[in-house]
Structures are given as structure tokens and as C-alpha cells.
């Protein structure tokens, strides 16, 4: 979606403000919101692309005015409500008002280290071959889906060069909607600054994105 999250090249956000000796969390609630988000992945049954969509799918002004863990919290509540695991009324009451729904399992303390160490690799086996190879010129498609995509606006319809064939990976555009992993070949595609930003671009920069094959056309 062309939402508030798609920030590359947008103006008016001001300077970057590094914070010396920044703590990992800035408040107690950030810790709990972070941990709840990670811990609910298993019982909730959603995938990372659904989580990302739940976070970005909001009014851009709201997205930009929230802190990052506020966005995580809002995304988590959306995912929970969509699945009927929690209601807004229960959050308001601060207590469960309905019996729990059956879930796949929960994250036990003994499994935390193991689950984090395993992570969630997205590479999948395939017997297909990649359509492109390193050095190939490609043009990104001009797509504007209302659903989740990982092709940012600032690189759409631009010509770049395949830098590297990464592998065969879960396709977020499908995975986010529940349509399945639908894995696709994934590439690092590099663009020259002026191709992205015209005469205003710094000619001595190159920018790359990681792009799945369905985002790309041969040139």
C-alpha cells in the first residue's frame, strides 16, 4: 500500500537526531509491547508480512505521529482483534471477558532462547531457475496495490541492474494476505542516484533494494 510507511525520498521530516547512549527501551511499556508482540506470534498464527501490514495499514498522519512501539502495539491489537483473540472491550476492562479461543501453542520460558535462535528463515527449496542473472538490466513494475508490498514507490518504474541473485524466498505480497508463501526468486537490484532522483540526485550514490521476480521486467 502507498501508505505512511513508504517513506523513501519524502521530504519535510527534518534532520536525523542520533541520541547519545540511547537505551534499548525508553519506557517500561515499550518492553512489554515488544515482548507481547514476539510472544503472540505463535499463538496468534500470523506471519511477519501480516504483522507489517497490520502496522502500516493506517491513516498516514496517524502512522507518522506514533512512536515505533505505539505502531507495534496498534498492529498487535489489530491482529488480535481480527482473529477474535481479544476485543477492544476486554482491553478497556483490563480483564478477559470471554473464554480463550484454542491456539496452536504458546511460547514457554524454556523455549524462548531456542525459538529466537531458530528465527524464521524465508528461503525455500526450488527446482525452478532464476529469470535474471547478475549484470542484467531490469525495470521495476509500476504497481500500486492496496495490500502489502515490499516494492517502495521511489523505485517503481525505474531501470536498474541485478547485483546479486539472492535465492528463492517467501513472497510478502502473497504471504501478507493469507494467500500462501508463493515463493519467488529474489534479487538485489541496484539503481544509480540520477535514475531515482533525476538532476536533483547525487551522481555518486547508488541505491539498492531487494526485489522479487514478480516486481521486475527485463529491459
Amino acid at each position: 500500500m502507498n501508505g505512511g510507511q513508504d517513506l523513501g525520498g519524502t521530504h519535510g521530516h527534518g534532520p536525523v537526531k542520533p541520541e547519545p547512549n540511547e537505551p534499548v527501551f525508553h519506557d517500561e511499556w515499550e518492553k512489554r509491547a515488544f515482548a507481547l508482540t514476539l510472544a503472540m506470534g505463535m499463538p496468534g498464527g500470523w506471519n511477519i508480512d501480516m504483522s507489517r501490514f497490520a502496522r502500516e495499514n493506517r491513516e498516514p498522519g496517524e502512522y507518522l505521529s506514533m512512536s515505533y512501539y505505539q505502531i507495534w502495539l496498534a498492529g498487535l491489537v489489530t491482529l488480535l482483534e481480527e482473529r477474535g483473540l481479544v476485543t477492544e472491550k476486554e482491553i478497556g476492562a483490563g480483564h478477559a471477558l470471554a473464554p480463550p479461543k484454542p491456539v496452536k501453542g504458546i511460547l514457554s520460558p524454556g523455549d524462548v532462547a531456542k525459538v529466537l535462535y531458530r528465527g524464521g528463515p524465508t528461503e525455500r527449496p526450488t527446482n525452478t531457475s532464476a529469470a535474471f542473472k547478475a549484470g542484467d538490466r531490469v525495470r521495476t513494475k509500476n504497481i500500486n496495490p492496496l495490500t502489502h508490498t515490499r516494492l517502495p514507490r521511489y523505485v517503481r518504474g525505474r531501470v536498474g541492474t541485478v547485483d546479486r541473485v539472492i535465492g528463492y524466498h517467501v513472497f510478502p505480497d502473497s504471504n501478507a494476505t493469507g494467500a500462501g508463501e508463493n515463493p519467488q526468486w529474489l534479487y538485489t537490484v541496484q539503481f544509480d542516484g540520477p535514475e531515482l532522483w533525476g538532476a536533483d540526485g547525487d551522481p555518486a550514490i547508488k541505491v539498492s533494494v531487494d526485489a522479487w521476480e514478480p516486481y521486475l521486467d527485463p529491459v
Binding site: L7, L107, P109, W197, I205, V209
Partner: protein, 212 residues
């Protein structure tokens, strides 16, 4: 809090008035705990992991080893995920890692314009600025301006390469080894490796910087 005595709440003394967000998170945790979806002890462990165990010191060890061990450096640049796992770092948000070598000719800088993708096993959780609009908007269009915000000026003829982490590939920058560090041990070298130098918004410290 669900009948559990969480010692982290003892640090709340400077927040006499709880914010709306804080109350909402507490309410949510209570509901999820009452329903049996989360075990608060698991939450404590998750927080402890990223507050105390996983952070940029991991990445600094990787960089320092690459600086002293050419064979390791070659393995890291060829396929970083297993090379990093040799040091015990792997997993969530670092399932597929690529290491990017800075040279006098090319400076690498990493961003996630769409959200906050970041190599957790080697750098920990991202700083606020990394997740915020100013960095995400400008890193891909005006990286020299962004570097200036960090007080970094690169030579004009150094090409800047920006890596927008749009997939599940996570990038770590291998900064240039500072001059004047011949014969230094890995431990000593690791002290020169800052988090920002592994994102590409900074350079490794010089021996002079840490002598101060």
C-alpha cells in the same frame, strides 16, 4: 499485573502518572495472560535477551575478527550467515545476513525505508532514529546530508552505496580498520567498532578517540 511480581515495575518511580499507552499495554498483557496466550515469564526473558545479551557488541566481535583473520573475513564476505554463526550469533531478524565491506572507494549504508528491518543477532534492536521518518526518508536520496547529521564527512570521490532492506536479507557493514592499530588484539579492536559504523552512519573509532 496478573498476580506476578515483575521486578521491572520497580523502576517506574519516576513516572507517577501512567500514560494512556502504558495503561493500555498493561491491560493487554493482563487479558492475554488471563486467557493463557502468554506466559509473563517468557516476556521477561524476551526483554532480558535484547536488553542484556544481544546487542552491537556481538557485531563488534564479528568485525574485529574479520580485521585480524583474513580467512574469516573471506568467509564473512562470501556468506555472512554461517560465518557469524561461528561466533554463536544467529536467529530472529538475522536469518539471512550479508556483510558489506567499506573501502576508500565505496562506503555502504543500510536503511529500511518501509519499516525497521535490522540485523538483530549482531546489532540488537534498532535505535529510534533508525526507525524514524527523517532517516528512512533521506537515507536513500541524500545520504551525504544524513551522514552530516552524524558528523561524518566522506571524501567527494567516495561512492556511497545505500542498501534498502526490503526483504528478509539483513545487512551489516564491515567498516574500515582504523590506522594505527597494527598488532592490536581482537578484544581491543572490538572497542573501536561502534554500532553506527556497522550501519554505515559512522566510522570505526580511531585509537585517539578511545584514548580520550
Amino acid at each position: 499485573m496478573s498476580g506476578h511480581d515483575h521486578d521491572h515495575h520497580h523502576h517506574d518511580h519516576d513516572h507517577s502518572e501512567l500514560s494512556e499507552t502504558q495503561l493500555r499495554v498493561r491491560a493487554l498483557e493482563t487479558v492475554l495472560t488471563e486467557k493463557g496466550y502468554v506466559d509473563p515469564a517468557s516476556l521477561d526473558l524476551l526483554i532480558e535477551t535484547y536488553e542484556k545479551k544481544v546487542g552491537p557488541r556481538n557485531g563488534a566481535r564479528v568485525v574485529a575478527k574479520a580485521w585480524v583473520d583474513p580467512a574469516y573475513r573471506a568467509r564473512l564476505l562470501k556468506d555472512a550467515t554461517p560465518a557469524i554463526a561461528e561466533l554463536g550469533y544467529a536467529g530472529r531478524q538475522g536469518e539471512h545476513i550479508v556483510a558489506l565491506e567499506n573501502t576508500p572507494r565505496q562506503h555502504n549504508m543500510v536503511v529500511c525505508t518501509l519499516c525497521s528491518c535490522y540485523p538483530w543477532p549482531v546489532l540488537g534492536l534498532p535505535p529510534v532514529w533508525y526507525k524514524s521518518a527523517p532517516y528512512r526518508s533521506r537515507a536513500v536520496a541524500d545520504p551525504r546530508g544524513v551522514l552530516a547529521d552524524f558528523g561524518v564527512a566522506l571524501p567527494k570521490d567516495t561512492e556511497i552505496r545505500i542498501w534498502d532492506s526490503t526483504a528478509e536479507i539483513r545487512y551489516i557493514v564491515l567498516p574500515m580498520r582504523p590506522a594505527g592499530t597494527d598488532g592490536w588484539s581482537e578484544d581491543r579492536l572490538a572497542e573501536l567498532v561502534t554500532r553506527d559504523s556497522m550501519i554505515g552512519t559512522g566510522l570505526a573509532k580511531s585509537p585517539k578517540d578511545i584514548a580520550k
